[in-house]
Symmetry: C2
């Protein structure tokens, strides 16, 4: 092996700080994105800002699962089109979804035909994908990486809860799985900023699985809030930062019940809570009757860009993807809900 | 940002060669491993070489799913014990399995309590985990990474095929999901070799999804063989290597039907085929009636170490994890079987 090169790498020092945080010295660029949703999301507060809103929740397909796959495909293809990249420009495609065996991602990867890594982190999938993409870019393994995360209300209900035809009454603590997909394009830190984005990713704090024993699958927010708190605390400890270093700390997605828990955790910890935002609370109007708010891999994937990245006054955010790592079978078997949160630090760098 | 550091990284050049291959200049070390299986695998040709064989396919649990979780936990904990590492020594745990929402991995990550990234690549999961671990290690993001991949015959049958109680007759082309878990420990390339292993990982070729239209879920080998061929060909093109550069090229796991397809593909391509081996063909005796051979995330995870890594005469191998990226629902909806293969190049480096 090349000992000189190895020596050089050792001299560069490690790129992990503290127990859980990766530092990306090259600062990979988030160059562009596209958000695609179903009709219900289109009627929400961000409706006018999504790149594409379909009137047809089936996306012209015959099944909910095929609709979900199209949603993902549109999200990444539209992002590529906006950026002026070809599919073949991508070194890698990273994706995940809520369906068994992440089929939406697998079938989208088949259509794209680029090297593919499947990830699973429930609603933390976009953040996990961003962390993995940055590792690839910062390590010099790729120049351009595409990421997508998607969910579809009806495929998720069918698979994870009850057949939609049953019309089961939803508890007030339950969240509404978003029909939405977000495609995100990352490029190596030495690239120029795109016309629409000067956002770069500087850190990722990879979460541990946290489980405080919540076993109500209709209250995933309460299960995920401790994981979000754990990861944000780890991020602060590792980086020496605090709430005041960020314009917003954005969970995706705890919903109202989980958000209130998280606020309470930080309050008890003696910290300000005015920077806390949650993607699940930003996607539907209250009168849309989504109860505790939005959820699903697609929720933060469609909210993050229009609600935060597109706002010029926002300069630095911590995006905290939160995932409830249960399945129907673990709930049936009386298990509690293990949860995880991964935090991605995004900031603007012009040039 | 630190421009000098960025400059330094650019000077180091990119770590991707050709279209799909990552080169790990620091050569992360595969320091140790542990293999844990059920009773049927213990009666196979490698039975005496597994680290732990349970007489009880339930692993003292009440459900197949909980048994599978224990299997994964034992595999990683035993590997740590063999290596003399504590769980807290691990910077990251990467894992995946076949169950919906990769619950075996999520619940094992809960028990371990270290930063966790969930991966899904069906039976290519171990290879995907190794590639991701090497990216972390080579990029300086970690010193020590644990990986595990697991499957359980009965949880897989129950979820992906038929209830075992039905006693459905299996076709001759079907494979038998292995009850097994493998835990693998990787360490940064600048570390010393362990007492049991001088294996390092030098390259990973990340696969594209390939789908030639095979839609028989009882013949996944035929669906996966084209993906294995595609990735090995890409590896050769990217590295300038050929069959003769390897002691073995080991797919995991095509079974007999898929293995014969792969041999045929290489023969038509004018290449020698005597280096081709398949993990699915090495785990059961013919009289164990496994039909086309073993399969599942756990198959290659328990075969790779005893059949290849432990043999001192073997110096360089290409391990090609192969995954069939279907779900029962895509089969019901008439979809064909998208497949993927990721190749990991392992060679010995003493010192």
């Amino acid at each position: 092996m090349n000992h000189l090169l190895l020596k050089g790498m050792e001299m560069m020092g490690r790129n992990k700080i503290g127990a859980q945080t990766l530092i990306f010295n090259s600062q990979p660029r988030l160059q562009n994105w596209a958000t695609v949703t179903g009709p219900r999301e289109g009627k929400g507060p961000l409706g006018a800002e999504f790149d594409m809103v379909s009137d047809d929740p089936f996306f012209a397909q015959k099944t909910w699962e095929k609709a979900e796959q199209r949603l993902m495909q549109y999200s990444i293809e539209l992002a590529l089109e906006k950026q002026g990249w070809q599919t073949t420009d991508l070194d890698f495609f990273l994706a995940g979804d809520l369906l068994n065996q992440i089929i939406s991602s697998n079938f989208t990867a088949r259509e794209l035909g680029v090297p593919f890594l499947g990830v699973y982190g429930a609603c933390s999938t976009l953040a996990e994908g961003m962390a993995t993409a940055c590792i690839l870019l910062d390590g010099g393994f790729a120049d351009k990486v595409g990421i997508s995360a998607v969910s579809h209300h009806s495929s998720a209900e069918k698979q994870l809860r009850f057949p939609t035809e049953m019309g089961v009454q939803r508890t007030m603590s339950s969240q509404w799985t978003v029909t939405g997909g977000g495609g995100y394009l990352l490029e190596t830190g030495s690239s120029r900023p795109s016309e629409v984005s000067d956002w770069v990713i500087t850190h990722a704090t990879v979460g541990k699985v946290v489980d405080l024993g919540i076993d109500n699958a209709n209250d995933m927010g309460s299960a995920m809030a401790p994981a979000a708190f754990d990861t944000v605390k780890a991020h602060f400890a590792d980086t020496g930062r605090s709430m005041t270093d960020y314009d917003y700390i954005i969970t995706g997605d705890l919903g109202m019940v989980g958000y209130k828990s998280l606020v309470e955790f930080f309050r008890e910890d003696g910290q300000p809570t005015d920077k806390l935002q949650d993607c699940g609370l930003l996607i539907y109007h209250e009168e849309q009757d989504a109860h505790s708010g939005g959820s699903g891999c697609g929720c933060s994937a469609v909210v993050l860009a229009p609600a935060f990245l597109s706002k010029p006054e926002i300069k630095r955010i911590l995006f905290v993807g939160t995932g409830a790592l249960l399945s129907p079978i673990t709930s049936f078997q009386g298990e509690s809900i293990p949860s995880i949160a991964h935090a991605i630090c995004l900031e603007r760098r012009n040039g």
